[in-house]
């Protein structure tokens, strides 16, 4: 098999991972909170896409128009009701609170949607096209990647050009100084968490056509999203983007050349190696030692 095949599918999958990682990194940067409910928010996105498709007959990619605002509002309220109350607590309390919220979401989904995995089959789910040199690209994966690129560009423009985006970046750089400059940091936290949730749900919706949809599906993505953030530097949006691609490629390469069973182990070993060798990640600002 050609070396390019795993590289290319790794990059395409990595794009969606990057989306999930960027959401988590933004939340970490602005609020200094590790969000352990991130994987479950992705799972909610998967179910939203599934029900939009089965009940409303909307194409999963088109349904993003509904999913993004719904998820943003959900995340915004989640922050207002729960997360902001632990923003000055020790890290472990924040971690446990988000773990608790994640357990509530995944187990409510388990009660409501049962544990039977659902499959979202579109007409183009298994279609692929061939490139010269025996490389085939799955159409849903390519579509997901392109949509990811569009969303990341919009997010980039939002953060770089708008005043809200600038306020978010200022809060991320220095919360106290931002507050002294008259930025409403509490509102920025809620917006950041809303955007983080929307990005997680989008990533979930984008992978829904190629994965089993299951109430506990978020678990494996949670640890992947953390690895991506740490790799890119917790809080760095650009870093998370690059981190996502790296993880996607590492996974695809290790599935091809080692074995599918060990690919997650390799991702975690990489994670620990980054923590030990370069704590600030590839694009991080400063260490947290």
């Amino acid at each position: 098999m050609s070396f390019l095949q795993p590289l290319l599918s790794g990059i395409l999958t990595g794009g969606v991972y990057a989306l999930a990682g960027i959401g988590m990194s933004l939340v970490f940067g602005v609020m200094n909170i590790s969000n352990f409910a991130h994987g479950d928010l992705m799972m909610l996105g998967m179910y939203m896409a599934y029900f939009a498709f089965t009940l409303l007959h909307i194409d999963p990619y088109l349904s993003l128009v509904l999913i993004i605002p719904t998820a943003f509002f959900f995340g915004f309220m989640l922050e207002k009701l729960f997360i902001n109350r632990v923003i000055h607590h020790p890290h472990q309390n924040q971690i446990l609170l988000t773990i608790g919220l994640g357990l509530i979401m995944s187990n409510t989904a388990l009660l409501a949607f049962t544990s039977d995995p659902k499959i979202l089959t579109t007409t183009y789910s298994s279609s692929a096209f061939n490139l010269p040199g025996d490389i085939s690209i799955s159409l849903p994966l390519l579509l997901s990647f392109l949509i990811t690129c569009v969303i990341i560009s919009i997010l980039y423009l939002f953060l770089a050009k708008t005043s809200t985006g600038m306020a978010l970046r200022a809060t991320s750089q220095n919360r106290e100084a931002a507050q002294l400059m008259g930025i409403n940091v509490a509102k920025m936290s809620a917006i950041a968490f809303g955007i983080g949730t929307a990005l997680a749900a989008t990533a979930g919706a984008l992978i829904a056509p190629t994965y089993y949809i299951h109430p506990l599906a978020g678990h494996s993505f949670l640890l992947k999203a953390f690895t991506i953030c740490v790799l890119g530097g917790l809080g760095s949006v650009v870093g998370a983007g690059v981190g996502g691609i790296i993880i996607g490629v590492v996974e695809a390469m290790s599935s091809t050349y080692l074995s599918t069973d060990w690919k997650d182990v390799i991702v975690f070993v990489l994670f620990l190696a980054v923590l030990l060798l370069r704590l600030e990640g590839l694009f991080g600002k400063k260490g947290g030692r």
């Binding site: 590790s34 890290h91 472990q92 971690i95 187990n107 640890l223």
Partner: protein, 332 residues
């Protein structure tokens, strides 16, 4: 004096309890779970509560004990289980030393994340190796120990009780010892502790080793008791979180907090899991068994205990971050 009398009373009640219950295996089973979770949470508390190092990966040490014991007994079935428990401690300590050398360099978010990553590497490795039975797990058919009747649950009740007593005794001794004061200093302010000449890495690793060894003994006992283990039962992240949650609800960094947490949480989970609540509602005439709600409760309440854990975690962090014993202490 009052304190000693109270402890003696609790100990005497715990020892005599199986005699009153007789041979009701269901109740004894729940009591064993309570003792096990109390001991696990107390062992975690030495590292998490006193040294302030919140390990999110204690399932790795539990699994190390359980897997070592069951693998050894499957290979040599005439072996004395006590030897297996001791080897389990060695294996868990080795994993702990490896973990410690990685995670104790990190702080805050990074420490918690790294402890999860190490535990997940252990879980995935066990899942992928052949000698551990992979996803099928290990089933043990027959064991013998000094002629004890191990088909009865009572030996395991006393076994768990013994480990809990040892864990509490170690905690009680530690917190008034030099090591204990050093650990609490590290918990309050690492940099200040280091500047006073406390060897951070040595004392953190010491607390982790004690904690991991006790956790591994409990894992071995669990393996011998249930005689079937797989990665989702003994190595899952969910187990690590349940251990922490038990300590949080009772009171982190208190001697009896984990015990209180286990007494509250384990029976609650059991009531939900075995659908006792649904049956009680039907018996009380509040819900009809054949109505939609009755059927829904019967089919789904069994999964609901994790949901309830989630709700309790959220409420506890928001309203009772110091746990039940923390609340009591504040009133004093």
């Amino acid at each position: 004096m009052k304190h000693i009398a109270l402890v003696t009373l609790i100990a005497a009640t715990a020892i005599a309890l199986p005699l009153f219950i007789g041979e009701n295996p269901y109740i004894i089973g729940i009591l064993i779970s309570v003792l096990m979770m109390a001991a696990l949470s107390s062992a975690w508390n030495i590292l998490g509560g006193y040294a302030g190092q919140y390990s999110f990966g204690h399932a790795a040490y539990f699994g190390a004990g359980a897997y070592t014991t069951l693998i050894m007994l499957t290979l040599f079935n005439t072996l004395n289980p006590v030897i297996c428990i001791l080897v389990g401690i060695v294996v868990a300590s080795l994993i702990a030393l490896m973990t410690g050398s990685i995670v104790f360099r990190l702080r805050g978010h990074y420490f918690g994340l790294a402890s999860i990553a190490v535990a997940e590497i252990v879980r995935l490795s066990v899942l992928n190796f052949e000698c551990t039975g992979g996803a099928q797990g290990i089933l043990l058919t027959d064991i013998s120990l000094w002629g004890l009747d191990l088909n009865s649950k009572n030996p395991f009740y006393y076994g768990m009780l013994l480990v809990l007593a040892v864990t509490l005794a170690i905690t009680a001794y530690l917190r008034r010892s030099k090591t204990g004061y050093y650990l609490q200093a590290i918990r309050e302010d690492q940099d200040a502790a280091a500047s006073l000449g406390i060897n951070l890495s040595f004392y953190k690793n010491k607390a982790l080793l004690i904690s991991a060894a006790l956790t591994s003994v409990l894992g071995s006992l669990y393996g011998l008791y249930i005689r079937f283990i797989d990665t989702s039962a003994v190595l899952d992240l969910r187990l690590s979180i349940e251990i922490i949650l038990t300590a949080i609800i009772g009171g982190v960094g208190t001697l009896w907090g984990p015990v209180v947490g286990a007494i509250l949480l384990v029976p609650l989970a059991e009531i939900l899991r075995s659908n006792l609540l649904g049956e009680a509602l039907v018996k009380a005439g509040l819900v009809s068994e054949t109505s939609g709600i009755g059927i829904f409760l019967k089919e789904n309440l069994a999964h609901a205990h994790v949901l309830v854990y989630g709700i309790i975690t959220v409420l506890c962090i928001l309203y009772l971050p110091k746990g039940i014993l923390g609340l009591y202490r504040r009133k004093q």
